[in-house]
Symmetry: C2
Subunit: 420 residues, 2 copies
């Protein structure tokens, strides 16, 4: 008998019929003797409607009220799923974030989970009752107000609940059937990965692969929560119930790299389209200039990703290139304009017409030459690289958006990821 | 400076535009220096959608989950109104039933408010912050679960909050501009009552006048809460802010009868169309027969209203006529059929084609002849009376539905209620 956390996203609970389908997935696990907690998102479209109302009433909204309004979507789904489970003869009840309680910090709209005491929750699950828990939200205990974790936060809720319950698995049901070597819409030969390490998944999540929210993967990695990505559109009886000693090869398991026997050097190619490039030309090359550029951007909560600095031939000036989220570009340019007095002279160029392509794999740690192969491949296709950034298990390059598909497809083949 | 509770129903908050209109009503009171708590319903149609989903998932639903789902509608409105108030430069925050807290018993779906400690609420209102409170709901403190008060419960929430805050007035904003001598759709000469006593309002509310929920009037009566019925569709600046010493003649004030100087003998004519008549014919007239008929109905939670018993000429049998809610008629007949062994022989007739017409007025206590005048008037119009029931301040008769309008119109004239 295992403890299983199951998470269902908005498209999986979009209608009453789909909620009943979710209930059948849950019943399969209960019938097999598993203890189950379910984490649900709002019905597809509901959260968007609530957010639109908030912004219509008050474009500069109070995040606490935003949370109070937006958190209701999951409360509806949780109640409805509990009812659907009861209608199938199971014991079930719904839990809101404040009932569990899921304690968060006070960063309303993007809160972080701090603690889930949940002893009452655990007692009732142990007694055979299915707990249906609202995703995406918690309670800020100082002011006793509802908080939300930011869009996609239900994944994080699910992993956090799995930690609190010491669950054997956290199954994330979504509208795709697993994590792929790259986006199958671009590369039809993309393969589903049976297993992927936390570190790799983290890079993929933060690099534009929307399967799991980044923070949920961080949390799973820290607490070693075995996480599966599964499709909710598979028929509930076409799947075997979870058993720790006999996990089916279905979906993708996100786990410790030690658990992955045949580790590839490269396990995936990710791309991120929402990048924008900013270049400051002919900046006076004085000590502290980087701080005067990036300080104000950081103060304005604008995340800067890749940074490249070139000194001009005369040795007196420098060109500084960096990337920000495309949506932040206008604000970034505005911040730079205001900081011009401090920074000194510069000309500015910017473009949102770029993409970041990343090659990811824990095998890079022990295999040299992965980066060299990437640069050579792109060069052979005549693709110019604007910037490069690397980590232990990832190499990212910034290129013109027009070459995105060509680059991803070519790299996918070069690193031996194509399916047969 | 007064403390004012303002309640807005579903049609008054049906769109973002109307919520902003509500915010202007609130601003008028705040600008005049009043302390304000606002109680809101769900946006019109939202609760119906939620109830429909619950019933689709589970026709025999768990009332606790029903409450968890259905209570979300008011949470959305409360957050949106708080944001609209903030956008107008006012200090405001939303409060759910569990945050205040509004403690109720555990009769989920039809809970009763037991206590509203609300010291934190009071502190913040005293500090000049508008409290926007979800109507229709509270918390069942033993299991810490959300409870709802039943449809129309937001009126009761508002009066209960007024009690807790020792408010000077509880203003119920609705889609009509006050309480009328009778339904203006039937009698165009119906007049708005400037004042009406709690007792009269209670009879009107329970007799089909849908302006205020019965329990809200009971609560207002017990705690002497001055309650006004007002239209939310009047322009916010066309109304004066509340002042205890100078209340405008607008809407209807529900208050103690001592405060009503020129008391009419009859203040209104009410009618209820949702009645059904049941007649049991030739029942054996033995001791205890009434208990054997009405006991099972009571056990099945079917409310019996008017009762008339006639002994047949032979003295051995009795005919028993009574009324139930039309919606309960099939269930009532079923209960009687099952109880036939106990009751003994009877034939049964039933009809939902009846209405209850009531003449209401606290002046009846000191004026004789009101009932006689009613019977005479109906008789002159050839209207047959099936049953009669009376209280200290009310006379009700059951007649064929076809005569409803004629009866109401004629009685309205006879008791001098027509406007000029």
């Amino acid at each position: 008998m295992a403890t299983v956390v199951m998470k269902f996203g908005g498209t999986s609970v979009a209608t009453i019929e789909r909620i009943q389908n979710v209930a059948r997935h849950v019943k399969r696990e209960v019938d097999a003797g598993n203890k189950v907690a379910v984490v649900v998102s709002a019905m597809s479209g509901v959260t968007n409607q609530l957010v639109a109302w908030v912004k219509e009433v008050s474009p500069l909204y109070d995040a606490r009220e935003y949370d109070a309004v937006v958190a209701t979507g999951e409360q509806v789904t949780a109640g409805l799923l509990a009812l659907a489970l009861q209608a199938m003869g199971l014991k079930a009840r719904s839990w809101t974030g404040w009932q569990v309680p899921i304690k968060t910090d006070s960063a309303h709209g993007a809160a972080r989970i701090i603690d889930i005491p949940g002893s009452d929750l655990k007692k009732r699950i142990d007694a055979g009752e299915v707990a249906v828990i609202t995703g995406f939200q918690g309670i800020e205990p100082k002011a006793d107000r509802v908080s939300t974790l930011g869009r996609g936060g239900s994944d994080t809720s699910a992993v956090a609940i799995a930690v609190a319950l010491e669950a054997d698995v956290c199954d994330i049901y979504t509208d795709v059937d697993g994590v792929y070597t790259t986006d199958p819409r671009i590369v039809p030969k993309a393969r589903r990965l049976a297993k992927v390490s936390y570190e790799e998944m983290l890079e993929m999540a933060s690099l534009g692969s929307k399967v799991l929210q980044t923070r949920s993967v961080e949390l799973a990695m820290v607490y070693k929560v075995k996480t599966r990505v599964l499709s909710s559109f598979i028929a509930p009886d076409a799947m075997k119930p979870f058993r720790s000693d006999n996990i089916e090869n279905i979906g993708t398991i996100v786990c410790d790299e030690d658990e992955i026997v045949e580790q590839q050097v490269v396990s995936g190619i990710a791309y991120a389209k929402d990048e924008a490039k900013v270049t400051l030309l002919k900046v006076d090359d004085k000590p502290g200039v980087a701080a005067r550029i990036f300080g104000p951007l950081s103060d304005a909560s604008i995340n800067v990703d890749m940074i490249v600095q070139n000194v001009t031939p005369d040795g007196k000036h420098t060109d500084m290139t960096f990337t920000v989220q495309a949506a932040e570009l206008p604000r970034a340019l505005d911040v730079l304009k205001k900081a011009k007095v401090d920074i000194g002279h510069f000309d500015v160029k910017s473009s949102a017409d770029v993409v970041k392509i990343s090659v990811i794999g824990v095998g890079m740690r022990s295999h040299a030459g992965v980066a060299a192969q990437m640069f050579k491949t792109l060069s052979e296709k005549g693709i110019n690289i604007h910037a490069i950034s690397t980590s232990e298990i990832k190499i990212s390059v910034l290129i013109d958006a027009a070459y995105a598909e060509l680059a991803v497809r070519t790299l996918h083949t070069v690193y031996g990821l194509d399916s047969d």
